[in-house]
């Protein structure tokens, strides 16, 4: 049976100031800002303090929460800039810092001890002991490592007090490269600096398989889609859901957000009805190779 907590949070990710519009973001409670993958990316909010401030102000004016992304792999020379972004974001009211690198985790927890930290899937926590270890760093949320199964995530969730944020829709990042994948194409343009090919929908194709090429990340070609499993996730007590949309269009972000919001709200609203109609609760019978009285 669905748990009675009806509050939930739908989040998404935006890398550039120009993608921040009320229409695109109306279905979300919170927005992660900044491209965490590439410091060379054109218009990356993490590289421009002025745009970062504007972005935070704009999102706050929509009544949304703001979480600042930080880089997956900052080199020694980039670290002061990372620290400066965190400082600026917190000063302008960012609600938490998204952390993908253990060095950044150490820096944020030492230099900004009051800042809430959301650990990204790039921190690669595979087990409960790792999750318990990082909980000392003011970690308020964990995005699970992409290769973990739901039962493995359940186990971490059941034994820590840190909420898990589940990516429920969008491309899956499949790693992080040493160099920009699209650099050879960019070089052909003969233009100085990044020309933001990440946003142009380039694909790598091999036979019937594909990957989406974007800077220092190859994403899955298919969107992960957990729409049909939202009831199960809600039932297990998950309340933080992410739509991965950093290199997607505004239309994608808006439409997917609408679908998920409607679906989650429907499930939570009708849960109360089920409770009234079926006071003894509900079950799945024998469909899932479990005892008939259980609800998956």
């Amino acid at each position: 049976m669905l748990k009675k907590d009806n509050k939930f949070e739908l989040t998404t990710t935006i890398g550039r100031l120009k993608d921040i519009t009320v229409d695109q973001l109306k279905c979300y409670e919170a927005i992660y800002i900044g491209d965490p993958f590439c410091e060379l990316g054109r218009d990356n909010l993490l590289e421009d303090g002025s745009s970062l401030k504007k972005a935070i102000k704009a999102i706050k004016s929509f009544g949304k929460k703001v979480y600042l992304n930080t880089y997956v792999d900052p080199r020694p020379a980039m670290f002061d800039s990372v620290k400066h972004s965190v400082e600026t974001a917190l000063e302008f009211g960012a609600d938490a810092i998204g952390v993908s690198n253990l060095g950044v985790l150490r820096m944020v927890s030492k230099s900004f001890p009051k800042a809430g930290i959301h650990l990204s899937n790039y921190v690669r926590l595979f087990n409960l002991r790792s999750a318990i270890f990082v909980s000392q760093f003011n970690v308020k949320r964990i995005v699970p490592y992409p290769e973990l199964s739901l039962s493995e995530i359940d186990r971490i969730k059941a034994n820590t007090s840190i909420p898990m944020e589940l990516p429920v829709h969008g491309k899956i990042p499949l790693g992080h490269t040493e160099l920009c994948i699209l650099m050879p194409e960019q070089t052909k343009t003969k233009k100085k600096g990044c020309v933001a090919l990440c946003y142009k929908g380039y694909m790598l194709r091999s036979g019937g398989s594909a990957m989406k090429a974007a800077g220092r990340v190859a994403f899955s070609h298919k969107d992960i889609c957990m729409l049909n499993y939202l009831g199960m996730l809600l039932n297990k007590g998950y309340r933080h859901f992410r739509i991965e949309s950093i290199f997607e269009s505004g239309s994608y972000r808006r439409q997917i957000g609408e679908i998920y919001r409607q679906h989650i709200e429907f499930l939570l609203k009708n849960n109360d009805k089920f409770l009234r109609i079926n006071p003894e609760g509900i079950c799945n019978g024998f469909y899932f190779e479990k005892p008939g009285m259980e609800y998956v």
Binding site: P76, F126, S130, A218
Partner: protein, 327 residues
Amino acid sequence: MIKLLSPAGCEEAVYAAFENGADAVYVAPVEWSRRIAAFGLDDEGMRRCIEYAKAYNKELRVPLNAYLQEEDIDFLLGKIENYVKWGVTGIIAADLGLMREIHRLFPQAKLYASAACGVSNVEKALFFKDMGVCEVVAPYSLTPEEMAIIRKEADIGVEAFIHGHLDFNQCGYCWMSTYFQRKVFEEAKERKYIIGSVNRGGGCYRICRAQWKLVNNKGKTINEDYLKDGKTFYFYYGLDLLGRYVQAGITSLKIMGRSYNVEMVRRITKLYRSLLNRALADPVGFKPEEAEVKEANALESMRFCLWQTKCQELIGKTSLKNRINHA
């Protein structure tokens, strides 16, 4: 003093590496590192190698650098207890839960952060130092000067690759293979062994070595073999960098290749021993000799032939049936 760190995938390779000048050798227990199950030692083999290293005042480091399930950690701690009892120099690890337990339970063993940890800045090195780590592996793309910053500011040992290959994704930051193919290896004795997931210790299908076309948003093919032509990955050896590594204060020079055969381990170790000795004697004026470059290239060709055959075989097991040709 820089230590030359050689790879081994079997007992004979461990002895060959030590006999040809390695200061330290890394060899994994079968089924428990970031390689397929074929490369590694059983407990008895490991005990003999540890005792051999100890007798000759050398180092034996054991990579247990997969990311682990909760119950795997308990099982491995039992293995580590034996290794420590036999006198192992240290453990190479990546999983935070395992690292914490090793430092807590076996403080006498040295703890090394695996290449999979991707330590590319001072703060990250300090994070691992706080966990009890004595040496971290620098990613390929860091310059010797960036490594020197980490070495100095974090006051921690830094290991640099001297011979290996650069992958499409950064070491430890790749789960591309399991996206396309994933299977549980039923014959594994000690663990749930997932083939396709390097991070879980099951080797990978080398998906990135297939032929990938770059296609734009209109469906037009821009390049027929983009990853190859874009030099997204390449074979790497740091012959020219050796002098700079010495000057940067690097503590270990790592040769990649636990899947190399005994003969290759012997030749590679011998070559880099000779190079390193000269670089240590004169780091500023160091330059590899023509014969040394020739030998490095010969080894690379040998390795490439083996590697290409293996890639073809692995990719053939997936749905990506294209040719590979990255010569």
